[in-house]
């Protein structure tokens, strides 16, 4: 394995007092930012999409940023989560929380199946095998139109109200809509923070930094990879479930290879291997797309150039570079 010169969180590194405090409270700070976010974004629907895609990119980041495995097939995990949740709600009329549970299950299941096959390959092959397997999932869901709606997509994932602790929230209201999704994303952030702080989190980064040494220390590297892939699938599955509730449809494009590429771009733009980077990347990508399309339909030109510039000059991404600057 090549050792990517990407700086992740290194707990052992000395840092300024307030910075290390911020680092210990990273989940709290990240949550606070997300809670304040709708105040600065004019469109609540767009803000909610940023949350969902941020969570999806965060799922990939665990694998790509922290473990150093590049997957080009994460759309499968995201999409299966979305379809499981969508089918549960639209077809079987299950309540929203069951949809979310099944979405997480779907993402995990897809990750277990794809992971078990793909983990046999290494390096650059891994990216291409995940891409190919994700395409298989795409065609499978495309053909099973009876369940998924095929190319027309799945419609009717309608949740009108959310009842919690005896209080009924109007899910059609844009702001309520945002904060319900935000609540799940915040929960995911805390979960990720715990995982990274756990011994397993240290093992993940150990494998990335030096696989041979990890192996020599008696770590079953393949197993670590598979488990991380599956955990990543759970995050992506949750993101998929939230996507289907957010838009009340699931489209087949969710499973497309371009959706896989999107997560990679968001991760890299924001800063892979950083805690909050994926959200910064998702926000940057979606806002950039919207602002640039204010002036030209050729927004992809700018987005592509920004991405290339990031690869060349800011491999740590926007957030990663910012964090690095603060540490100096």
């Amino acid at each position: 394995m090549t050792v990517d010169n990407v700086v992740a969180l290194r707990p052992s590194e000395p840092a300024r007092g307030w910075l290390s405090l911020a680092r210990r409270r990273r989940a709290w700070l990240a949550s606070l930012l997300l809670i304040l976010f709708p105040l600065i974004v004019p469109f609540k629907a767009l803000a909610a999409q940023i949350l969902v895609y941020g969570l999806y990119a965060l799922g990939l980041n665990l694998l790509f940023g922290y473990l150093g495995l590049l997957s080009f097939g994460h759309a499968a995990l995201f999409g299966v989560g979305a379809y499981f949740c969508g089918i549960a709600v639209a077809t079987f009329g299950l309540p929203w929380w069951a949809g979310i549970g099944l979405g997480i299950f779907g993402g995990t299941l897809a990750a277990a199946l794809i992971g078990a096959l793909a983990i046999r390959t290494r390096g650059i092959y891994f990216a291409m095998v995940t891409l190919a397997l994700a395409q298989c999932v795409y065609y499978l869901f495309y053909e099973e139109a009876g369940w998924t709606g095929g190319e027309s997509g799945l419609t009717g994932v309608d949740v009108k109200t959310i009842d919690l602790f005896g209080v009924s929230f109007n899910f059609v209201d844009p702001l309520v809509h945002y904060y319900v999704i935000c609540a799940f994303v915040v929960a995911a952030l805390f979960a990720l923070s715990r995982i990274l702080a756990s011994p397993f989190g240290a093992v993940i980064e150990g494998v990335r930094e030096n696989e041979a040494r990890a192996r020599a220390s008696g770590i079953d590297v393949s197993r670590v990879r598979l488990v991380t892939f599956i955990v990543s699938g759970a995050f992506c599955g949750l993101a998929g479930a939230l996507l289907s509730l957010n838009l009340s449809i699931v489209s087949i494009e969710t499973l497309n290879y371009e959706t896989s590429g999107l997560a990679v771009m968001m991760c890299l733009l924001g800063g892979m291997g950083t805690f909050f980077g994926p959200f910064v990347g998702a926000a940057l990508f979606l806002l950039l797309e919207n602002i640039v399309s204010l002036y030209t339909v050729h927004w992809q030109l700018i987005v592509g150039a920004a991405f290339v510039a990031c690869v060349l000059f800011f491999p740590r991404g926007v957030w990663g570079t910012l964090m690095q600057g603060l540490e100096k």
């Binding site: 394995m1 090549t2 050792v3 990517d4 010169n5 590049l70 096959l117 046999r120 390959t121 290494r122 390096g123 650059i124 092959y125 990216a127 291409m128 095998v129 891409l131 190919a132 397997l133 395409q135 298989c136 065609y139 499978l140 053909e143 290879y257 590429g261 990679v264 771009m265 890299l268 050729h298 992809q300 030109l301 987005v303 592509g304 150039a305 991405f307 290339v308 990031c310 690869v311 060349l312 491999p315």
Partner: protein, 294 residues
């Protein structure tokens, strides 16, 4: 299955080979670049599309087909040189993911650039007059132009083979693909070799694009799906192996063609299923070497 004759099977086999010919040209370029530079070129589909557009543009301005067939790959190959020199070279040694990501972003720029210049809508490209019509190939009538695509691919492959086997530059390329470190130690200017190999690979992609243009016209998005398929070909053949790319390209073409006959809607998933099966049995592909993978 009614109406299934030996003739139909024969004809189907030929269409598969013609389809495979384009895969081969793309996969050989990809494999050459990967084998030498360990760069997975995600912009390969974009270069293919660019080749088709340049070819279309030349034809539109009265350049004859044969000249366009030479000029378009040359132009795109030059662009390839510039890309390697300015964008990819700074990334060597920074890990295998970075060139991949860079070319991924680059493909967005190229595709959108073409949209800026030529618009969103595609253009038709007429088959050159001399190659129009169909000829009897024994099992039935087959479009002359597709026969030409097969023949042209064979000629290109032969030329490439001679270049790699009979020239000193080819020797360096082959040695470099096996072990770039040793080649560098021997005092060869590896950077120059890499530059030329990248240009050559992109030129091959462009050539495939020009050949494909009369078959399907041109559109900015045409490089996307075929890139995924070309990846499958290189992975099945074994990354970095030219022989593997050729054989796997033809195999994939024929597999697509035969599934089209029996279960057309499965023809695309067949490609990826084939790849999954091959990788499960032989994780390095048919002719891949384990050393290149990590």
């Amino acid at each position: 299955m009614a109406g299934l004759t030996l003739q139909l099977l024969g004809l189907q086999l030929f269409t598969g080979v013609a389809l495979g010919a384009l895969y081969v040209l793309l996969a050989v370029g990809l494999s050459l670049i990967f084998g030498m530079l360990t760069v997975v070129n995600f912009a390969h589909g974009a270069f293919y599309m660019l080749g088709a557009y340049v070819g279309m543009w030349l034809l539109m301005h009265g350049v004859n087909f044969w000249l366009a067939l030479a000029l378009a790959p040359l132009a795109v190959g030059l662009l390839g040189l510039a890309v390697e020199r300015t964008l990819i070279r700074p990334l060597y040694g920074r890990g295998i993911d970075y060139p991949l990501l860079l070319t991924f972003g680059l493909s967005y720029i190229i595709v959108e650039g073409v949209r800026v210049v030529f618009g969103n809508t595609g253009y038709p490209v007429d088959t050159p007059e001399i190659l129009q019509g169909a000829v009897n190939i024994g099992v039935g009538y087959f479009p002359l132009y597709r026969l030409f695509v097969i023949a042209a691919t064979a000629v290109i492959l032969l030329a490439l083979w001679l270049f790699l086997e009979r020239t000193s530059f080819g020797l360096i390329v082959r040695a470099g693909a096996r072990d770039p470190q040793i080649v560098r130690i021997l005092g060869v200017d590896v950077a120059r070799v890499w530059l030329i190999v990248f240009g050559l690979g992109t030129a091959l992609a462009a050539l495939a694009g020009v050949l494909a243009a009369p078959l399907q016209g041109v559109i900015p998005e045409m490089g996307g799906p075929i890139l995924a398929e070309a990846f499958v070909v290189t992975v099945v053949g074994g990354m970095g192996s030219l022989v593997g790319a050729v054989l796997a390209g033809l195999l994939v073409g024929v597999v697509v063609s035969m599934t089209s006959l029996f279960a057309p809607e499965m023809s695309r998933v067949a490609i990826f299923a084939l790849m999954a099966v091959v990788l499960l049995i032989k994780p390095q592909g048919f002719f891949g070497r384990a050393g290149l993978m990590s």
